[in-house]
């Protein structure tokens, strides 16, 4: 081999929460966590009913992976969910760098959070929307749900029509940041 440098194995993984909190774990993953200065054992169990739970400091925590795609995870612990991306030190650096760059001109699509029927579209193409503003009324589960925009910007395109049935994750509207 022409190159002398040895290949470096990833020695740690980082779970980065949706609120940008980083939890670091050493590889290979032992079933123990460094916690307030000491290592605490963590036990994964499955009960006869098919639930998985963690025993942590003598307490049971019911645990479930509710979404998992590539390195994106949503984990439910005692009926509260937490979203993470699992990163290596390198990918985390990349992520932080790209965040800083902040692609201002890019557009964001608002997707249907659940299947349902479009009752009303409250915005028009090229119209302005503010963060938190309702943009679409989607009827599901007998209820009319307001879908709100999570960014401010200009409506680039509206991909649905009134009374149309949509599936979960269908793109409803694209908004250009600004």
């Amino acid at each position: 081999m022409a190159r002398s440098a040895k290949k470096k194995k990833t020695t740690k993984l980082i779970a980065l929460s949706s609120t940008n909190k980083a939890y670091e774990f050493k590889k290979p993953l032992q079933k123990r966590i460094k916690y307030q200065g000491e290592e605490v054992d963590i036990k994964l169990h499955e009960d006869p009913n098919g639930f998985s739970y963690i025993v942590w400091k003598n307490k049971k925590y019911m645990l479930d992976v509710i979404e998992k795609k590539q390195n994106r995870y949503t984990i439910m612990v005692n009926s509260v969910w937490h979203s993470f991306t699992v990163e290596t030190p390198v990918s985390l650096k990349r992520k932080r760098f790209l965040e800083k760059q902040g692609d201002a001109s890019s557009s964001v699509s608002i997707e249907a959070p659940m299947p349902g029927k479009i009752i009303d579209i409250l915005v028009e193409e090229n119209g302005e929307v503010k963060e938190g503003e309702p943009i679409i009324i989607l009827e599901a589960m007998k209820m009319q749900n307001e879908i709100t925009s999570h960014i401010s910007g200009i409506v680039q395109s509206v991909s649905v029509k009134k009374n149309e049935l949509v599936m979960k994750d269908d793109v409803l509207i694209e908004i250009r940041k600004g």
Binding site: M1, A2, R3, S4, A5, K6, K7, K8, K9, T10, Q70, N71, R72, T85, E87, T88, V90, S91, K93, R94, K95, F97, L98, Q101, D103, S105, S106, S107, P115, M167
Partner: protein
């Protein structure tokens, strides 16, 4: 180093210079863009300490035009070589953006061609890690000739060895056509781009403002154009994804795909959940991926082009450890109808599987082709024919399971018995007919309906009758168009046995240069 009086000074000097070239500065430059270096990528892609570089010390061609400067770097901006991926021989090139923007000069191109030739000779997969500004302007036509040489080899290797392109930076102009020919294109979100003409040219010619990402980013190519088959959020996951995909592929067209042992928590052969997946209401959608996951080995479904033409689902999976290719209509999207994009997506995948001896499983729930002026004018006839052609032309074992709807022309296309399907199964929920009940009774009883006082009620009644008498799997079963109506819960078991029975399938096709697929 001095061994038995021989002088290795020159050897050591060169080695030092080569190492210096990959110094911290070059690395930092690449990292500062959120990217990895060419070497780091190789390290992630290959098994530890298995990569052997070839042609590390070539230097670029000296141009005599005096136009622009050519950086005299060892390797000329590309690393080529071979190594092991999960223990299997694989060839690769990795472009180095830090050397003249990874631009393709004649020597750079010659290296790529050299490794392509080797991969083809050895019958091993060829992987290109692409991060290049395009043709090297200083070298002019020599550089363009280089591209053509690469394309030519891509085509020669097509269907002989698996070729994978991984776009990790820009791929612009002519450079995009090598990936376009290869079997699978990976992209990394936010830092990779592909386009024939860049934003500047678009601005100049059309006066349209568009960002790199909006013009040819991973999102565009995975959702809209269908150029990229797999997208990952960062380079490490992208390269790990390549490793994952390779586990499903044979090294060449004479071998079989590698097998894998079953997990300890393997899917049971009888899966009762399958009985409940297809809703009683024929207009109600469900997720066909759930059907796939419940039938293949645990965690073995590897989906391709997930975000493009989502009305068809394609991907690899394992059945009892053996690799199969899966083509499934997705009732969740556009009711699972076939349209131009889904036909293209399906057809290319079928061709790949056939070329590499990967048996095909077709899960069918298709109400027909997507109607519309737009579809007709853009050539759904031509494109739909590709899928039909691809199925009929393939010689690998092909098994169809009709889950629910199988209507009209789409019935024929989706690997029907007479298109050469080896085993065609149907679930009891299957509806097989020339068209859906509502449409059929509207034609068959036009006059009667027009005369009726309560059209809706009569139509409903007739539709129900049609379902019982025509649109069910039993008619087809009794006439041999279906081999067996099966219990959904036992699908996996049936499939394992059927594919086993088909292992020695061989077909005599007439001798010809090649057929004429309606491209």
């Amino acid at each position: 180093m001095d061994v038995k009086g021989k002088n290795f000074t020159r050897f050591l000097e060169r080695q030092q210079a080569h190492n210096d070239q990959h110094d911290a500065r070059a690395k930092a430059k690449q990292h500062s863009k959120g990217k990895l270096t060419a070497w780091e990528r190789i390290d992630i892609l290959f098994d530890e300490d298995t990569f052997e570089e070839v042609d590390a010390y070539v230097t670029p061609d000296k141009t005599d035009t005096g136009f622009g400067k050519v950086q005299q770097a060892y390797g000329d901006g590309v690393i080529i070589g071979h190594g092991l991926i999960r223990g299997r021989l694989t060839f690769a090139y990795s472009q180095d953006f830090t050397v003249m923007g990874g631009s393709l000069g004649s020597v750079h191109a010659a290296k790529i061609m050299k490794i392509q030739d080797m991969a083809l000779k050895m019958g091993a997969p060829m992987i290109g890690l692409i991060d290049s500004g395009g043709a090297r302007i200083q070298e002019g036509v020599a550089s363009l000739a280089g591209y053509a040489g690469i394309f030519h080899r891509n085509v020669q290797s097509s269907g002989v060895i698996p070729q994978i392109s991984v776009i990790l930076g820009p791929a612009a102009g002519g450079a995009v056509y090598s990936p376009a020919i290869t079997d699978f294109v990976f992209m990394t979100d936010q830092t990779s781009y592909m386009f024939v003409t860049g934003p500047n040219v678009v601005k100049e010619v059309l006066n349209e403002d568009v960002s790199l990402n909006d013009l040819g980013g991973a999102g565009v190519h995975s959702k809209k154009s269908g150029v990229a088959h797999l997208v990952y959020p960062d380079e490490e996951n992208t390269l790990m994804g390549v490793r994952q995909l390779l586990a499903y592929l044979p090294s060449n067209n004479m071998e079989n795909s590698p097998e894998m042992e079953l997990s300890s928590d393997e899917t049971s052969d009888v899966e009762e959940k399958l009985r409940d997946i297809v809703p009683d209401d024929p207009n109600k959608p469900y997720d066909v991926k759930e059907v796939i996951r419940l039938n293949v080995d645990k965690r073995s479904f590897y989906e391709i082009a997930e975000n493009y033409a989502q009305n068809i689902v394609i991907g690899f999976g394992r059945l009892d450890g053996k690799v199969i290719g899966i083509v499934a209509n997705q009732p969740k999207v556009l009711a699972g109808t076939l349209d131009i994009n889904s036909s293209n997506k399906g057809a290319r995948f079928i061709r790949f599987c056939d070329a590499f001896n990967i048996p095909l499983l077709i899960l069918e729930d298709v109400p027909g082709f997507l109607p519309g002026i737009d579809q007709e004018h853009n050539g759904i006839i031509r494109h739909g024919a590709k899928m039909l052609y691809a199925f009929a032309d393939s010689t690998v074992p092909r098994i169809t399971v009709i889950l629910r709807k199988s209507y009209g022309g789409a019935y024929c296309v989706m690997n029907s018995k007479n298109l050469g399907g080896d085993f065609n199964f149907a679930w009891p929920t299957a509806e097989i007919a020339v068209m859906g009940p509502e449409g059929a009774v509207a034609i068959l009883y036009r006059k009667e309906l027009a005369a009726s006082d309560d059209q809706a009620a009569m139509k409903k009644e007739l539709a129900a009758k049609y379902r019982i008498e025509i649109a069910n799997p039993y008619v087809a079963d009794e006439r041999g168009f279906i081999d067996e109506v099966i219990d959904p819960a036992e699908t996996r078991l049936k499939l394992i046995r059927a594919f086993e029975a088909l292992e020695t399938k061989q077909i005599d096709n007439p001798a010809r240069k090649h057929g004429n697929i309606p491209l």
